[in-house]
Symmetry: D2
Subunit: 330 residues, 4 copies
């Protein structure tokens, strides 16, 4: 089964939300206290998805807010360099800084992130900085959940969703839950539900859907039944190594397996999944194929050091899929 997009649009995808800096441990397999050098990369879920999509050949744009300093300028230059339209990335004039994520890789199983998210520039995107003229040029508006965690970014995203729906732009909601800056579990649930109900496609891990429902051990069946009463037409629920499930409003269910490769760290898996999955959908692939693209892209990124730089090409993804298919048929 395929998923249809508006074809006559300048952009395949416009992402909205945070674009930050990852500072990845150069010396890893140790506690961060013993890491003395860090490498700088662009990070942040929607930025990574835009970068991943752009590398795969999608025409991507970005709506976000950047600090007025060296880190903000680096992000803009890097994203422009990989082909993303940055004309709607606004420079913050109130002194807010770029968000930072120091990554700690003790072992492939023990990864953690030390976040600097206090009053960061991306959360100060204002609704007046979101423009209908821009959004209506895209097939897809990609919304990441973290941009809902605080005002005024929250209202900027709610406005963007409104404009997307008004202009027949598909809203893809990547739950991307991060336990920072949210006021309460109840408030998180209120906004996640609000946007999920208005989205066309919702993508997240089972844990993230539980956050949306403010519960534990939720069941996919209940989740999709509730959401399909509203706008969503396609819902992807990821279960880690157990693979992912795609549900359609028409009642179909597809399962995608996880590809097991050498894992360096777990960061970036979700973003690379989303970018390749959406690339395949937009390219007119079947949902089953799109699930494979997502899994393959995630498998490649977790074997490498960064999240953004490591985003694979179509060729790399297809090679991995074909290699895995051969294994499966032996």
């Amino acid at each position: 089964m395929k998923y249809e997009f508006n074809t006559e649009r300048k952009y395949d995808i416009i992402a909205i939300g945070r674009a930050c800096i990852d500072l990845n441990a150069v010396e890893y397999n140790r506690p961060m206290e013993d890491t003395m050098t860090f490498s700088k990369y662009v990070g942040g879920s929607p930025a990574n998805i835009a970068i991943g999509g752009s590398k795969l050949g999608l025409k991507a744009g970005f709506i976000g807010k950047l600090s007025d300093d060296q880190h903000g300028r680096f992000i803009e230059q890097y994203m422009r360099g990989v082909g993303i339209d940055t004309s709607n990335m606004v420079i913050d004039k109130e002194g807010h800084k770029t968000g930072l994520a120091f990554t700690e890789i003790k072992s492939p199983e023990e990864c953690s992130i030390l976040m600097y998210r206090e009053d960061v520039a991306d959360l100060y995107l204002k609704p007046s900085e979101v423009h209908e003229d821009y959004i209506k040029q895209s097939k897809i508006l990609l919304v990441s959940g973290t941009a809902l965690s605080k005002s005024p970014s929250r209202e900027a995203v709610l406005k963007a969703v409104n404009l997307a729906k008004k202009n027949d732009v598909k809203v893809i909601f990547e739950l991307d839950y991060r336990p920072y800056t949210w006021e309460s579990a109840e408030a998180t649930s209120v906004y996640y539900s609000l946007v999920a109900k208005q989205a066309d496609v919702v993508i997240g891990t089972r844990d993230e859907f539980d956050v949306m429902e403010n519960r534990t051990e939720g069941q996919n069946e209940n989740t999709v039944n509730n959401l399909f009463k509203h706008s969503p037409e396609l819902i992807v629920i990821k279960h880690g190594v157990d693979g992912s499930y795609a549900y359609t409003k028409s009642g179909q269910m597809f399962r995608g397996q996880a590809y097991l490769t050498k894992v360096l760290k777990t960061f970036g898996a979700g973003d690379s999944y989303a970018s390749a999955f959406l690339y395949a959908l937009i390219s007119g692939e079947e949902i089953e194929t799109a699930l494979k693209y997502g899994s393959a892209s995630a498998a490649i990124v977790v074997s490498k050091h960064s999240s953004s730089e490591a985003m694979p090409t179509v060729e790399e993804i297809e090679q991995l899929i074909s290699r895995e298919s051969e294994k499966a048929t032996i």
Copy 2:
């Protein structure tokens, strides 16, 4: 034309939002600088509507947050005294104060309010303090727009609206726009639109609908056409002395005239209008009749000193309507 409600419910109406203190000038027709004495009344749009409704015989409840002091206790006692269920009025434990409104009546045409709304208790109602078991016992959930102006009250109201819709409780949205605590005109528009689209009935002045649309000089026709694409079934737009208009999704339009009486001050007109209009609707009256009830109730309250204490009885309303009808037919 009549409007149908779920009849098997314990409460006719549950209002959510602020319950505050009005301090009304005892010596009026002068600047507040020359007023040396103030009378204390319960105030706040949803509290006034609940009080007005209760006086008209509706079974009313209230969801809100009260300061843990003499003003908070006065409000609870007064509202309980007029027959409102106050079991879901929570006591604030973080030191927030009751909102205050000092009224200045220079002349019937020059009224102003000096507001104390900084960190007031009512805006600290949390989503966890809103309970499905309570809301589902009512025919109506009355939401006033000011409760959307700040977190966590904003999320508490969004949750309440969600629960109302889930349990077939009609959502009445009284726009009640107050230019305090809102972050920006754009943010105001985002939340007003969000709730208006989910409401069953929307009531406000033309100016308030303009705030919702973040524009000036909006036209009723456009406003109702946009909202009728979503949940609303009935929209009431008030034009001051020019009367009010009720629009139904089925395409009907009714006009209610304003009753011109002796005006002492303009405060309380909207709240008394809403309580009597809703009373008539719930009582099974035609929409045309409900419009008359609203106008009559407003006319009575603006001729008196307070907003809450002055809420009329059914008898007073019907006497005024009949008096005005006779005039009209002469």
Copy 3:
């Protein structure tokens, strides 16, 4: 023993700090919940002292910040009306409100105050709004402790104390401790100690000196020994109905008795005490006489309804002193 002031100055006293609104229960001897009417007066310790001093004939000025609304204008008009120079009372342009104190008089022994002190205008006085040219025209700078409770008012007062010392203006520190807006007991102690050490005269209750020392059950002897190592030359410690004690750096101690009169409420006792005590000192009276003035003025104010309006004249004070002296000699 007398206390000497610089005689060649335009003002006897310039007070710095808060000028607010008292809303006093018209119906009293009951809980505030049952009070339905409130009378408006100017309030706030340094404002009361300036008003009291002005009524006694002192030439007074005031440095403070007023809300840009009816309450702010009322305060300025009232203070100007009683003869105070208000040229250095700045109008707040950032929307801060006037502080409010609703008084509850359950009985003469059970008085309480419901305070509105959240982000009030007086605490937003900035150091740049304190001018050396003004302060150096006065014999006395009266500082009240509450103005130290928050930035930027805190820094404005520290600057004013600096300028007073530089220009040989006596610094009178009225401890005036109010448990609002202070961050911690330790921080309170830090700033109270800092200013007390730089002051020439320190006045407060025993409890307030304990707050300054961040301890309980402090002894006057220790308190004065510590302070006399620094600038203070005269320290007055009040012990309620047990009277007050004045200590001089030269080692003298004077005791003033409390005059027992009909008490309506306890508010305003400290401010009226300070204004009359300072009036007597400035007028060249002996310290023993000044203690009597303070006690008499306090006794008069606690028998009346307000704190500012009730400030007595010299004649009233002297009549009470002479009446009490006769009683004592009978």
Copy 4:
């Protein structure tokens, strides 16, 4: 001329204030946008001075607040590793992060710092976390000005200064002005003046003394005349490449020349100066010699990559001084 310290104390120096992380550009002589790798060092003026002093053989302690994460633990481990007593470094339990300083070295003359100082842990040190029992064990309390920039750290430092003076611990005030988190130039001046007047030794650049005086182009003579009316006995004013001046209360003035070496970057010059200058004073050297120690230490640190790791040994300092003396005598 020598400067005397209390000799019977466990610690030579206890520093109070910030201990942070420097992230120094590995690839330098370019804009930070082009720097892809950063090295991690302990930073922050008082931490650097304590580290520098400890490397020179002083017995040092530190009072500060650390984030409860990998960065906080790294700082504590590093400082303990160089011999500093860290028993009074408190772990923050409210989620505040370690301050960060990303350094950009475009050229030796064009260095800048990208600071992360928003709600950092060091500014949350509370007065209750400053203990008399600890401070009284030291010869010196070193206070750095930045710790005064925000509450509650501000009050913690004011308390520490109080306790130092009470216990005959010399207060050394390193102005260390950083234009972050301060509310206003006036407020900065208020607190800098307050502590400078209470200090025994004040050290800063001419620009920093101008900040203290809230003026531009101040003159050393006026500065020292004003401060010598209060506690200070020794004042060091640094004029960059023009050398530094030491003034004593007794009226002496000493000039120290700057040693011109190969400069990699300008960071760390002030901290290395202070640590070596204080080391010399405590070791009983003449003030002239102490000025040489300061200059030599600064010259060594600016030629190296870090501020803390690069702190020299006594031998390195003495070699440079003797090398420079020989040059001068040729």
